[in-house]
């Protein structure tokens, strides 16, 4: 059961307690092999889907090799096709697959980790809620939905080609907000789950 707030609780104290519990919750999946496997699988899977949606993992010219731009560090944060889109600094080709490394891989890995944490906590809540000390109302799965959409957020209007929608200013703004919105939702979901952690049961 979550702790009840007392009259002496300040907002700062509540925030600290939520952060502490979230950190506790974030460690839970790594205490069980099956939950850790869910975390790893979801994180890797999501990252691959994200990179594919971005066009940074796609069929290529069929060569084998690695190419790096002249100044990869200086180029890493150079904007590319839109907000939160960064220019690729390295290309790896392996037969039919071409991978482009940019700062978006780092962003994607962060989002993928959040999705992995949320879904692995949901998995724990579903399988062993009591022994893990969390309640049964984890929202990790729901929070993952905008995160999945965010994979195409960096593509800007190009993603609209696939669905045949003309880009309006409002739509472009909405697309640009998908990624930060997904991150906020995923963090919120983690905090929400963390607030339900029963420290005594962990």
């Amino acid at each position: 059961m979550p702790e009840t707030t007392t009259g002496r609780d300040t907002p700062l104290a509540r925030l600290r307690r939520s952060v502490d519990r979230t950190r506790t919750a974030a460690r839970l999946p790594f205490k069980r092999r099956d939950a850790a496997a869910v975390f790893a699988g979801v994180t890797v899977g999501y990252l691959l889907v994200y990179l594919f949606a971005l066009g940074h993992l796609a069929p290529g010219l069929g060569r084998v090799g690695v190419t790096v731009v002249a100044d990869p560090v200086g180029t890493l944060l150079r904007p590319a096709l839109g907000p939160l889109s960064f220019t690729p600094v390295a290309r790896a080709t392996l037969g039919p697959v071409t991978y482009l490394f940019s700062f978006n891989t780092v962003i994607g890995l962060g989002v993928a980790g959040l999705v992995g944490l949320n879904l692995s906590l949901s998995y724990l809540a579903w399988t062993q809620p009591t022994s893990c000390g969390i309640g049964g109302s984890s929202t990790g799965a729901l929070a993952a939905l905008p995160a999945l959409l965010s994979g195409s957020a960096c593509c800007g209007p190009v993603v609209l080609v696939a669905v045949g929608i003309q880009a309006s200013s409002a739509l472009l703004t909405a697309v640009q907000l998908l990624l930060p919105a997904a991150v906020v939702l995923l963090l919120g979901s983690l905090v929400f789950v963390g607030r339900q952690v029963d420290p005594a049961a962990v």
Binding site: R63, V68, V69, L81, L100, G156, V161
Partner: protein, 389 residues
Amino acid sequence: MTAFTRRGFLAATAVGAAGLSGCTTSGSESSDPPADDDSGTGPPASPAGSEAADGAPTRTDAPASDPTEALPTAGGALPLPMTPAALRAEARSGGPSKDGIPSIDDPSFVAADRVDFLEGGDPVFGVARGDTAKAYPQNILVHHEICNDTVDGTPVAVTYCPLTGTVQGFERGDTTFGVSGRLINNNLVMYDRATETWWPQILATSIPGPWNEDPPTVSLREFRLVWTTWEEWRHEHPGTEVLSTDTGHVRNYGRDPYGSYNPREGYYRDGTTLYPRLATDDSHHPKTVFVGARTPEGAVAFEKRAVTDAGTMDGRLGDTPVLAVADPRYTTAYVYLNPEARSFEYEDGRLRGDGERFAPDDLPLRRVRAFDAMWFAWRGYYPDTEVYA
């Protein structure tokens, strides 16, 4: 750029007229048409006016604001569909910031027999001048839109807008062109790095923008690039050079974010545009390819397939009769002024007229610059265009 391959470490290269006062609209009084080198296989374009005939003016160290001082410009301004200020108001962000789509500024080339990244049917944009023949693959330019190059000693910019299906060559003097990140009528808005003036690609004419608020309205000196296939270009120019994938940038040149031309799929085939058009005219599919020509006297467009099927088509550009002629070698077409309405007939890939035979790109008529464009783009920019299909 540094490349590591299984064949070993390779070091690669680093990335590296007259000013007219006021607006020039389609109804304006015309001057001489711009130069008529249109084949993609002829000598460099020459301007109608003599001002830039000796090449690009010398660039000073101080930032210039007048593009006529920094760029070779044509003698007469091309028609605009509205005032330059109104065109500026139509500009919208395409998503990328300024230079977010990076131009190729230090291109390298490979010989035809070393090209392993093109299929025979893949589109290339070709130009042949003097002893030089160069091909710019569409699958590379779709990621860069502008290649600042030198052809036969002339500094040029090869430009391609994937959203309007237009490829145009411009002389650039001592400066280079970049991608502004803005679009008008879904068409690339370039900027020159000497004066930061905006140049909508199809219009080839300066308009005001945030980086140069009040440039004179002038048009760039253009030259023709042939939109053809790798198979056709290589057949006609076996010694051609081909723009290399070693562009100084890393992109996946095997992936076109908009679709495919070989076969035609995605954006290049569907009936939608990414951004609003300047005009909507459903008399043709928006992506139907027209061969368009414009001079200060007006504009004319021939459906490309209709010309290549018929061999020749008659039309008018302003008050002047014109003749569109197909060239099966490249599956392209040219537009000639034909004021005397002379007639030519196709015969074994050549045209017969007045008892003589001529190559399709060498008729004894004055050729006007023409290029491929998607219907919606041409119609939006040239609302008074004559249309033949």
